[in-house]
Amino acid sequence: MMDARRWERVQALFHTVVELGPEQRTQALQRECAGDPALMTEVLRMLEADARSAGLLDAGLPQIADQMLPATPMGRRNISPWEIRHILGEGGMGTVFFAVRPDLGTSAAIKVLRDSWLSPARRERFAHEQYNLAQLDHPNIARLLDASTLEDGTPYFVMEYVEGLHLDEYCDVHGCGMRERLRLFRSVCEAVQFAHGRAIIHRDLKPSNVLVTSNASVKLLDFGVAKRLDEFGLVSDLTRTGLRMLTPAFAAPEQLRGEPAAMGADVYSLGVILYRLLTGRLPFDDLRRDLDLAALSLNRDVVRPSLVARRVQQKGNARVRGISRASWNDLDVICLKAMHNDAGQRYASAEALRRDIDHYLAGEPLEARPDTHWYRTRKFVRRHRIVVAATGLSLLAASVLIVLFMTRLSAERNAAIAEVARTQRIQHFMQNLFDGGDPDAGPSHDLRVAALLDKGVQEAAALDKDPDIQAELYQNLGNIYRKLGDLSRAEMLFNTALRKRRQLSGDSSAAIAETTAMLALLRVDQAKLDEAERLAREAVAISRGALPPEHPTIAIATEGLGRVLEEKGKYADSIPVLEEAVRLRSSPRTSGSDLAGALYELANAYFYAGKYKDAEAINHRVLKINREIYGAQHPRVAEVLVNLGAIQQDTGNYPEAEKYQREALGITRTFFGETHYRTAAGFTLVARSLVYQKKFDEAAPLLRDAIAVQERVFGRVHPRVASAVNELGTVALQKGDPEGAKKQFRRMLEIYKVVYPEGHYLIGTATSNLGSAFMASHDNVEAEKLFRRAIAVFARTLSVDHLNTAIARVKLGRTLLRQRRFAEAEAESSAGYNILRKQMNPSVTWLNSARADLVEIYGALGQTEKQSAIRLQLAQASNR
């Protein structure tokens, strides 16, 4: 058997003899191969091969590849267990076949992609992920049954087979009138909305993907296909296959620009479908396949559908007869709003579009109309979405806020208040605006927001004839200010609300309990924790005293108290309170989301108390509830996954932590998009789990992505950027790249110096980390300076016996040790060590590194007794 050494020998001999003449060659071979006939055979075989053509190797690859690569012809073949019967259609993406399963007697449509292959490595994942494929169980959506690859790596999808006509064909064949068309269209919107609620975007909506069956019901095809293709990079990149797969006439401008599609892209496509249904034409008939993208995505002005329809009508099209001028105007508004070039100006959701279709069908004013009540309200909410979303207000409270502004707008306050009664509609409306609403998305001190709120307070003040509503508004506005961080303003409003409510109903009403509970949470924000606890207990007492046992306000107040105790670090006390809150929220009348909210807090308390098993069990419960309520692909689900990941991280199961964080990231990414700060936070969490697994090379690019996103969202100088930069620095440090680490920590420090007042503890953290980088590059003098500076900051702003102070002193001790200044080192290391020991949850890593340093220091100082004492502790610690 040949091995590497033998091969060396064979080659050496081959080179020795290959240039020799025949006689010398024979002599040499006989001499060298004496007693080793196998060697002789091997070399002779090579010499022979060397002298003639080497077949394939000399033929040259072009000739070979040329013969081998005329790729697979698309023959008719079977895809086990399916039997292909005939072609249903061919499109830009591939070919669709009709197939049957003889064993089950069922049929399906199989879409085989054209010119796409997955490498063997990725095939298995593609096939296996069908289990993760969010199944869309909706009567108007054709199911995706399977996805896999042919033996040559061509991806295919198996879908429910639907017999029917394309939406536009159906309408033309059956001579549908306008109302019938709109009724079909609203079903399409409903189905799209259903999928969006599960964070699945279609990305290629067009009439040929909407079938209408003989009993006039709608079925959407291909939902989930684009998502899968995108995950495997088969469409996302415009320069590769993406363009071929889009249907340009129906694609949103941002899709044509190659940006990742969000839900707004589907709304746009719905608009084009509507346009087509209304007019029989496409808005951009001139679109060719090889379009000029740049020109296209700019300046696309759409001719109003009514004009086109009239033009077509003159040519004998009966579709649009009998529709009034005013009705046409409404249809124009709906269509053009859905097709707005700016995604932010479109309908916020397919649901909102569907609602306006319904309004039209019911003869009601449109929400999109520029001259209605609704329009103004909407506009207010749109413009100030940040605030409204930021407050996390209950929907009812939010609609009260809207009413307030309607009051200002219309001066018909009574009518407006009556509108509150019709909350269902409002709630519906608000819900859609809040879906995916996001408390941290914008700068909290946006001037316009502040101005608006100030106005709100004035408006509220003018409502003094209605103190009840006024108090409610004060409370809500207070909440907004609280979330925006203007705590003193919030406090003032809460107190005013409280005073009004006392005047109205004495000291012990449900309303007072509620405001008191909110004031308690405000005190938490103000770090006045004792006061917070007192108020929270008061709120619980009032609500229990004044209200029947199952009243929801008792639950609110109890949960508030639980949270206050949690904030105070009294986890043991907060757990029973939160258990009680959970019990109160468990009544059948409480919504699942309220129960989930209480459980979520309870899980956190267990987590902080270090009871990971309980925290984990409860989080799994929350996960189940949230999946049921929101669907599997919702940020609420992601939040819980993040917490489950944190539990695994804290208990040292880093690969498990990574799994949870990756799953959470997947959801967040789909829901919020690639360039959202939440996605960035997700990157960071995954990266952290990788860092602990020492997978630095995987972690670093994630962190860089996170930083890039955060820079875009928050600007280059922002604490969030600094925090991710810190992680990157830590990775560099652990990888043994102190210079890289210095660069990152310096940047972190610069940012903190700009955004925080002098002496902020984070400035200390950055300084200390920079010190670590210097220590790693053996510049102990500089490191010492930095550690001393950091300790000064910590001692002043945190406390002399804070964990951070302790760690910095241990680090300082080590630099002194490295400088062989043993006595000084001893002072720092043992001071740090003693602080660490007193911590509730001392960091074992730091304890042990302090111990190790002290062993060395006492050794150098010749204090053998102390040395052996510490050594003993070290040994005990490692045995534990």
Partner: protein, 190 residues
């Protein structure tokens, strides 16, 4: 050649040790998929035009260079990975046709390609070469890489010398021995 050895063998060469494995697999997958797409595209538009692997590899680079996964990869390194991908494209094509011929692919209703027999020669040779290269990489990984880069990726000796950090003279010597040895193995498969 399985995926393990793709990343494994590539990782050994000097210039890639800092490229992380996932990234490497990603680049490999992209190269593989792109090469197949290119072959199909060329075939469709110019059925009789020759398919040059070197051109295809260069085209693949032009298309992929701007994608995030490939952005960290140097052109030379990409061609090295593409060579590996090309090898696998050809090998799996040969295997597939082998299986076709022997009726091992189940569920086939109509047999497809004309001239399957004509290509058998190269199919067998490609498979034999692949096997011999696996053996060679066990004996001397550098030599196997050189053959792969030169034969499947059309890299110049000068470029391979850069990649593997050896002199061109050494490579030429290596090539002669490897060629002779491989040719010996291939002759059995003809």
């Amino acid at each position: 050649m399985d995926q393990e050895s793709v990343a494994g063998s590539l990782k050994k060469s000097r210039d890639v040790h800092d490229v992380d494995r996932a990234e490497l697999d990603q680049v490999f997958s992209l190269a593989y998929e792109e090469l197949k797409s290119l072959a199909a595209a060329v075939r469709r538009s110019h059925p009789s035009a020759p398919l040059s692997p070197t051109t295809m590899v260069n085209e693949a680079w032009l298309k992929l260079a701007r994608t995030p996964a490939v952005a960290h990869t140097s052109p030379l390194h990409f061609r090295r990975i593409a060579a590996c991908a090309m090898r696998q494209v050809l090998v799996s094509e040969a295997r597939r046709r082998h299986a076709l011929k022997r009726g091992q692919l189940t569920g086939l209703s109509i047999s497809l390609e004309e001239g399957v027999a004509d290509r058998t020669l190269w199919d067998d040779q490609v498979l034999a070469l692949d096997e011999a290269l696996v053996e060679l990489s066990r004996l001397n990984a550098r030599q196997a890489q050189m053959v792969e880069s030169r034969f499947f990726g059309g890299l110049e000796m000068r470029e391979i010398a850069d990649l593997l950090d050896v002199s061109e003279a050494t490579l030429l010597r290596d090539w002669r021995a490897a060629r002779a040895w491989l040719a010996g193995r291939l002759s059995g498969a003809e």
